[in-house]
Amino acid sequence: MTTQIELQNVTFQYPKNDEPTLKQIHLTLNQGDQLAIVGQNGSGKSTLAKLMNGLLHPTSGSAHIHSLDSQSIPTAEISKYVGYVFQDPDEQIFHATVAKEVLFGLKLRKFPKAQIKLQLNHALIMTGLDRYRDMNPFDLPPATRKFVAIATVLALNPDVIIFDEPTAGQDTFGNQLLSKIIRTQKKMGKTVIVISHDMDFVSNNFNDILVMTHQRILSRDTAKAVFWDEKLINEAHIEQPSICGICKHLGIMSKPITLKEATVAIKSELFS
């Protein structure tokens, strides 16, 4: 299995801060990993994401992308390997139309014309933005603007995509579209990382969960192990998916995570 990203003993401190934001982080991502990152506000999730795509570099320790030291890879090349969808799409969007926004990265990569057109159209269709292609991204509502940021990254077809809080502010249609995009990436063998505060979304789409709290990683485990560990949940300021919460109060033993599992568990443990 190919290792895509490796952080070894990484400590990171923003220049003007009194203390490090991340301390002694070890993390390996292999090809095809589907990882959700959850945890407290300010625990360092976005900072960790930026270390994984070379936007930030470790203060000490090392970050490797495709076995290359992240500092040695030219910025334009990193987009082949890792794409990052910012938490705030407004940090990422600069162009006058949606299509130009998506084209920008494609042109930097100097793909042949035909391929550029293909990848542009594909990204716009996958994100439901085709009908907005000639609009100014800043005239679009924020939830749609997030999909513009997603399209710019999808168009480049990187091996790893990091989505930073794509679920924030999305209605159920937006969340369904996100699930679909993630599933498609998974089928293509891509590595996907999603940072989210929506525990229902996380538990329905991921089984590999990284839990963060102040400056560090608390745990990386299965959804079942994470969402049924009360101490971990409190320490990380997260919550059980609502379904788990109900099952806990009912004394259900089999630790279900999804609606389907909970339905089966309640029926067999209480009504049989």
């Binding site: 938490q87 749609t144 209605d171 249609f173 990380a236 997260i238 609502s242 109900i246 339905t263 009504f271």
Partner: protein, 288 residues
């Protein structure tokens, strides 16, 4: 019953409308003083536009065509002018819109509104400290508000309105970037405000929290106020998912279990109600 907010026949179109449709169509609604209203609806359904009209930002900062009237405590919004800032707090959907841009620390940012009100410094300090404590941002007091995490900025934005202690609070998606524990904390703060007879309007996609804490729910769809009622009335409507609104997980679970409920029973919308109902059904099942 005192009416805090009275909207009659509000319709509005933005000057440049994306899909060439009205942002709001013929909204009439009366909101009572001392109640907590949750607003739900799909992206683009008009929730933020509705908030902006109540606060008077539309038509003050936006052109376009607005018809209908909004009265606050019986007085048309347009006549309230500067009093409105004291009467009504407004938390923007985008927390960066809340930041003054002229303050270099979180403490000063949260104090900014009270300073503008001309409050004595000692009282400002007390109130700012309390608001920062409520929002768990005391440790950020001396940090630059533009160099924070997304959730931290959102807490600062909320604190900077909370500190003003207005009678009416309009809060547009305050939890979108908060960790789950902080999100629930916001609702607890709001319940506390409600006990002080404040009127609260809050937009959120978290129907589970709205179900648990709100007195009433307003459902927007394509610019129309489709429904207004208790969380039970609105959130158990089988059609809400077609309007982009999440069916509360507790409701989803009860549906999926296909229990035969007593006809007069309220269909559960909260975890607590779901647990109670399943336990009762279980008891019946075992005694049968």
């Amino acid at each position: 019953m005192t009416i805090a907010i009275d909207c009659q026949n509000i319709s509005y179109s933005y000057p440049i409308a994306i899909d060439n449709t009205q942002a709001l169509t013929n909204i009439s609604v009366q909101l009572e003083k001392g109640k907590f209203y949750g607003i739900v609806g799909a992206n683009g359904s008009g929730k933020s536009t509705f908030c902006s009209i109540i606060r008077g930002f539309i038509p003050k900062f936006y052109k376009g065509t607005l018809t209908g009237t909004v009265k606050i405590n019986g007085i048309p919004v347009s006549q309230l002018q500067s009093q409105l800032a004291h009467l009504m707090g407004f938390v923007f959907q985008n927390p960066y819109s809340q930041l003054s841009g002229v303050k270099e620390t979180v403490f000063e940012e949260v104090a900014f509104g009270l300073e503008n009100f001309g409050m004595p410094p000692l009282e400002i300090e007390n109130r700012v400290n309390r608001a920062m404590d409520d929002c768990d941002i005391c440790d950020l007091a001396l940090r630059n508000p533009f160099k924070l995490s997304g959730g931290q900025v959102q807490r600062v934005a909320f604190a900077s309105v909370l500190v003003l202690d207005p009678d009416i609070l309009i809060i547009d998606e305050p939890t979108s970037q908060l960790d789950p524990m902080a999100a629930e904390k916001i609702y607890k703060i709001i319940c506390n405000l409600k006990s002080k007879n404040k009127t609260i309007l809050l937009v959120d996609h978290r129907t589970d929290l709205i179900a648990k804490y709100a007195d009433e729910v307003l459902l927007f769809a394509k610019g129309h106020l489709l429904e207004k009622g208790t969380p039970h009335q609105v959130l158990t409507n089988p059609h809400i998912s077609a309007f982009g609104v999440k069916v509360p997980p507790a409701t989803q679970l009860i549906r999926s279990l296909k229990l035969s409920l007593p006809t007069n029973a309220n269909f559960p919308v909260t975890e607590g109600e779901a647990v109670k109902l399943i336990k009762e059904e279980n008891k019946n099942d075992n005694t049968d």
